[in-house]
Amino acid sequence: MSGVSKIHDRSKPFKYLLLSLWSLLVLFPLWTMLVNSFKFKNDIYLDPFGLPVKINFAGYQTVFQNSPFPRYFLNSLGVTIASLALILFLGSLAAYGCVRWRSRFSKWVYLFFVAGLTVPIKIGSIDLLRIMISLGLLNRTASVVPVYVAMGMPIAVFTLYEFIKGIPAELTEAALIDGAGPFKIYWSIIVRLIRPALATVAIFNLVPIWNDLWFPLIFIRDDSQRTLILGVTRLFGEYQTDWSKILAVLSLSCLPVIAIYLGMAKQFIAGLTAGAVKG
């Protein structure tokens, strides 16, 4: 141990230098966004780097008082919660079914789900657009939910299948003797035992769903139906020079995910790296 670290000792300052410089580079854009959102326009032009000389809340005020952004925020919140709930519920049910149903077909069904891991759903965008039109969902916030749920199925079934398979039979056996049905066993035993895996699946899907631009962009034109990220695309057209408002909206839009991330960084890194399979 001491020998290993001795070998690396001489290069250690350079390692810390590299990591520190990179950390500055990561934080710099976020700093730029945050400090300038509290500045007056002229102060931004004069000095975009430092803390505000005079604090200007006007950017945030206009966002909260007279703008569609609170609405967009709620739209995104609704979409994200609905999609995650459905992914976890349907995904775990299916994984449980695939594990318990012992036949050649269940293997094929499982492989059919897992095949989706490597296929980017964007390929199907044009057909999805037609489907949304025929379902009358075009221009509705809700249109993105079934797409996100479908997108989340491969990773959910893949992750939960492995996890459920690993549950010792004795754990469900006792309940079986007590006369509990399969759904009761699923709901009161399986779901409890697979909580860590459910968390991984939730985290993996949370970030791309909250941050998605593509599907809202192609499905939703109507103003009031926009998600937060789609709403952000409006900023540059309408408030061309209102930097404090633009930056206030950008800051607020990443706040929720950053807050959750900093609260549980370890799980986030594990969850997102595991799911990176899906690209």
Binding site: S23, P120, F236, A265, L272
Partner: protein, 319 residues
């Protein structure tokens, strides 16, 4: 086993009910649209009614029509450049970070890991906008810094110059995603048994030898997975160009990628007309799919040759 035996009264149809809801959503909103988009590439029509069978006409147009094929080829080659720079910068930095962080007893590992990963959680659109501000010629901080450093001649309109626009966008993308390869390489390095390093140390192997003879060969599967993920991700990229330059890939299509080209042909409509050609768009999607499929297949073959017992790409991704 016992539980399964206990449940044997339940037949397949019963368990299928558990699977059915997920299967229905997945089939209807993912599997079918992907397959049907490929079918649509053989049809044409006006607007959303794409029902006129035209054989390979869309593909012929894509590859031979002067205007369309020029745009397509430009987007395609740009995408390769995007991929090349990403591999060179993002994944090399990711490997370097992982090598540093994996050193035993490295102080501040958790802190740096958290920081490096922050951009992964942000929306591509938002980071694209912020970097667009930093790079803008009006009050962009990069050019202010360059001028202050006496390099005023380098204070260029980075996103408006055909030479620099695509590399600039690629670097922003690398800035955002470098956390993923870092964590995957880190996981790969931490899986290497400690005894190997101890043995190497006893044999007097230095840092470079340990890297080239132990770490690098054992990381090859992870390198393969990272390459595949980068490839798939880059050929699906859209948001970063959309945020920093717009859907037309300016200046002069220098930043046009397969994603933006697909968006214009199949969904938004080309610039002057504004009416999408869905059949042609489906053909673009089909070609993208074919490129991805070929790439993934090739990578899998190379990886399997290298390490026969490893499964397909998805196996290692769980690392």
């Amino acid at each position: 086993m016992i539980a399964r035996a206990g449940l044997r009264g339940r037949d397949g149809a019963f368990w299928f009910l558990f699977i059915l809801p997920a299967l229905a959503v997945y089939a209807a909103f993912m599997a079918a649209p992907v397959i049907d988009s490929l079918r649509m590439s053989f049809f044409s029509g006006s607007g959303y009614a794409v029902d006129n069978f035209v054989g390979f006409d869309n593909y012929v147009k894509l590859f031979t029509d002067p205007e369309t094929s020029t745009r397509f080829l430009k987007a395609f080659t740009n995408n390769w450049e995007f991929f090349g720079i990403t591999m060179l910068v993002q994944n090399t930095f990711g490997l370097a970070f992982a090598l540093i962080l994996s050193a035993k007893g490295f102080k501040g590992k958790g802190f740096f890991r958290t920081i490096i990963f922050v951009p992964v959680t942000l929306s591509v659109l938002v980071t694209g906008y912020i970097w667009k501000l930093i790079l803008n010629p009006q009050w962009g901080e990069l050019n202010i810094l360059l001028t202050k450093a006496g390099l005023g001649s380098l204070a260029l309109p980075w996103l408006g110059d055909t030479r620099f626009a695509l590399p600039a966008i690629t670097l922003v993308s690398a800035w955002q995603w470098v956390g993923l390869p870092t964590m995957m390489f880190l996981a790969g390095l931490e899986r290497i048994p400690e005894e190997l390093f101890e043995a190497a140390q006893i044999d007097g192997a230095g840092g470079w030898l340990t890297f080239s003879k132990i770490k690098l060969p054992l990381l090859l599967p992870v390198i393969g997975i990272v390459t595949v993920l980068t490839f798939v991700g880059n050929f699906n990229a859209f948001d970063v160009v959309y945020a920093m330059e717009g859907a037309n890939g300016p200046p002069a299509y220098a930043t046009d990628l397969m994603g933006t080209f697909f968006y214009r042909t199949g969904i938004a409509g080309q610039h002057p007309v504004g009416i999408p050609d869905m059949g042609l768009g489906a053909a673009v999607a089909a070609v993208t799919f074919a490129v991805l499929f070929a790439g993934v297949l090739l990578a899998n073959r190379l990886m399997n040759k290298d390490e026969a017992e490893r499964g397909p790409a998805m196996d290692g991704g769980r690392a």
